[in-house]
């Protein structure tokens, strides 16, 4: 069968390498009686099915975290509106932190230890970073996080990969926040260079910097990095298959 490597490469977009190889092998076996057209139809159908499930969960999780972040920025969650301070804005902190657990919960459900552990990180990190001005909320978030931690601790002890994966997720979440910050700093630098020559007007310069940093391109960067995080976390969840004894 020509193109089986390409078919396997396609299947690897939605499955682990071991699973993709096994599926491609199955399709190859069946295509002997059903023809090559069936082989490609089965491959594309499998990729479309897996891709649709992933995309649906990712888009829903990202949209959910965007809505929460927008509500936070407008002060609709019992907080002070946060329109001028970009670093502490919900967009930069909440979107990456909430997308990963929301995705994992949608894909694998509340029973999944990875999803719960990811939620724990979101609660702890988000609560610590965003609840600073609110004494009551400041304690509720970490308390919820600690409760979740104790709830999933037994699972984590049994499976070290969960801990490793969650740490990777946390690193990636911090990375995306810094990525957003980098865009802000870059915008600030550009604005400073342009405005210091043209206007010499610090207030305008700051306003332009904020406008640039909240540009939709930030959302695109956030969405892309969130996509990479959830792809990695989905892959890390499943270890390589064990080999059958001969």
């Amino acid at each position: 069968m020509r193109g089986i490597r390409f078919a396997e490469w396609l299947l690897r977009r939605v499955a682990t390498p071991d699973d993709a190889a096994a599926q491609a092998g199955d399709f190859l076996e069946l295509s002997r009686s059903r023809g090559s057209l069936w082989f490609w139809r089965a491959t594309l159908s499998s990729v479309a099915y897996g891709g649709f499930r992933f995309t649906l969960a990712f888009v829903s999780a990202f949209a959910f975290s965007q809505i929460i972040a927008i509500l936070w920025n407008h002060g609709a969650l019992g907080n002070q509106p946060d329109r001028n301070s970009v670093y502490t804005s919900g967009m930069l902190i909440l979107v990456p932190l909430l997308t990963v657990p929301a995705f994992l919960l949608l894909r694998f459900g509340w029973r999944d230890a990875h999803a719960r552990f990811s939620l724990l990180f979101a609660l702890l990190a988000g609560g610590s970073l965003l609840s600073y001005p609110h004494p009551i909320v400041r304690w509720i978030f970490p308390a919820a996080g600690i409760l979740t931690a104790s709830f999933v601790l037994a699972k984590v002890r049994r499976d070290d990969r969960i801990l490793l994966q969650s740490l990777a997720q946390l690193g990636a979440a911090v990375g995306i926040s810094l990525g957003g910050l980098a865009v802000f700093l870059l915008a600030l630098l550009c604005a400073w260079v342009v405005l210091s020559y043209l206007l010499s007007f610090p207030e305008t310069f700051f306003r332009v910097a904020v406008t640039l940093s909240t540009h939709p391109v930030n959302d695109v960067i956030n969405a892309f990095v969130c996509f990479l995080i959830v792809r990695t976390s989905e892959r890390l969840r499943k270890p390589s298959s064990s080999l059958r004894a001969a």
């Binding site: 069968m1 089986i4 396997e8 499955a15 071991d18 699973d19 190889a21 096994a22 599926q23 491609a24 092998g25 199955d26 399709f27 190859l28 076996e29 069946l30 089965a42 491959t43 159908s45 499998s46 990729v47 479309a48 099915y49 897996g50 499930r53 694998f108 029973r111 999944d112 298959s241 064990s242 080999l243 059958r244 001969a246």
Partner: protein, 110 residues
């Protein structure tokens, strides 16, 4: 994880097909078994996704066989049902049996 997992109809079909394949349960015979017994051609994506999900739930476990030349050097992924999987199927089937008891629907069909 709770032990009283509720299984959907499709999940039960896949688990029963794995059981029927007795030690040779990889994608191809599982698909054949479903086709022969139910008369339905399973959608490829749905079958593999369900097998994955059942493994996630701890109802199935899988292992890779040896690479085979007729599969272009690719291994088969063999599935076996776990004790928890068997218990889930038995529980679901018992519920169906209790509901069917006294109705004689199967005899009417014959």
């Amino acid at each position: 994880m709770r032990d009283d997992l509720n299984l959907g109809e499709w999940e039960q079909i896949v688990l029963l097909a794995v059981l029927r394949c007795e030690g040779n349960a990889y994608g191809v015979p599982i698909r054949d078994e479903i086709r022969i017994c139910t008369g339905r051609e399973p959608a490829t994506g749905a079958l593999y996704t369900t097998l994955d999900r059942l493994e996630e739930k701890g109802l199935l476990q899988s292992e890779l066989g040896a690479p085979l030349a007729e599969r272009g050097g690719r291994a088969r992924r063999f599935f076996t049902i776990t004790t928890k999987g068997k218990a889930a199927v038995v529980r679901a089937q018992s519920a169906y049996r209790r509901l069917l008891d006294g109705l004689d629907l199967l005899r009417e069909q014959i």
